[in-house]
């Protein structure tokens, strides 16, 4: 059965009314998706560091326990950092959610199939690693509960959202890493960020 959900619709739904949510976006399509939903100083979109999105989310969540943290990344990116799911399962940050936008493809490099196209079940991996909640979402009805969970449910939460594979227009965030870091820190910490 091929996935029907459209990735941009999914990410827009999850980020609607985002409030003070802190967002790490994995490199490639998920960074473009988050930007398409509205560039925001509390987005940290990655242009490299494949495999590190969930760990950056963990560092953020441990350092800011009073804030909700959302990692939105792709299946290829997540597969490169599976060990991070084990580390998150051990650390158990209640304020962290990891959402994989799973098109079962390496979308930036020619749409080659990832392991999830061959049945690797990322939600089962997350569950086995000790996430408090882990699910696979395949229909629109699953998005509103997932959005609520990201804001309210004690985690760590994990969801793989199956989306259609297809080419869509690029919507690019700023590229300068130092700029992205500085604007995120200022938005989160205020002017004190500049004095650290």
């Amino acid at each position: 059965m091929s996935a029907k959900l459209k990735r941009r619709d999914v990410v827009s739904a999850l980020l609607s009314g985002r409030g003070e949510l802190l967002v790490i976006a994995g490199l490639g399509s998920t960074a473009w998706d988050c930007t398409a939903a509205g560039d925001h100083p509390l987005n940290f979109p990655l242009w490299g560091a494949m495999g590190q999105a969930a760990m950056i989310g963990l560092g953020l969540a441990l350092a800011q326990p009073a804030r909700q943290v959302l990692v939105i990344t792709g299946d290829g990116e997540m597969l490169m950092g599976l060990g991070s799911l084990a580390t998150i399962g051990v650390q158990k940050p209640g304020n962290l959610s990891v959402v994989v936008i799973d098109n079962e493809r390496y979308g930036e490099t020619g749409m080659q199939r990832t392991h999830t196209a061959h049945g690797v079940d990322l939600a089962a991996v997350a569950r086995a690693c000790g996430f408090a909640h882990a699910e696979t979402v395949t229909a629109t009805q699953g998005l509103a509960p997932l959005r609520r969970a990201i804001h309210e449910r004690p985690g760590p939460n994990f969801a793989a959202v199956k989306v259609a594979a297809g080419k869509i227009p690029l919507v690019l965030p700023p590229r300068d890493g130092a700029l992205l870091k500085a604007r995120f820190r200022r938005a989160l910490l205020g002017e004190a960020a500049d004095q650290q």
Binding site: Q52, A54, M55, G59, L62, A63, T87, A178
Partner: protein, 175 residues
Amino acid sequence: MTPDWPLEIHRALSQAQVRLVGYVPDAGHKRLIELCHADRAMRAVTLTTEEDGIGLATGGWLAGERSVLLMQSSGVGNIINALGTVRECRIPLPMIVTMRGEHGEFNPWQVPMGQATPAVLAAMGVVVHPVREGGQLGAAVDAALRLAYNSYAAVAVLISQRIVGIKSFQEQAGQ
């Protein structure tokens, strides 16, 4: 008398208000890891691979918290691409690396990465500070932390195998 260098490194980390300690264990870091776990002001996080410590430190710094990464020289091979992020984003990243494949190594498989460690770090723009005397480690780590946090730089203190002093598999297993 051998200086208590793990205690001196822990003191330097504590004084610098380091709060997140990411590590992949090494026998040479055993006591420092225990000191960090016992310190209620620090969160010591076991990693499955060293590069995850770069992500942890990046996320911590985005939120205003100071980190350190502890590893063995073999781990330096695992972090190369992730160091690109640290440089591009100017994330302060102190690393404390126990050397293998260097002074009196007993495992030939450790030698290639151990010998390449300073060059690999330097190639990625990391400030490299080798230390060969245990008595100099506390001051060296203190200086590395200042450089990293005042200059938003990646800095690696390399602890010579001469200081760690493990000379055989048997000795390592008996740690």
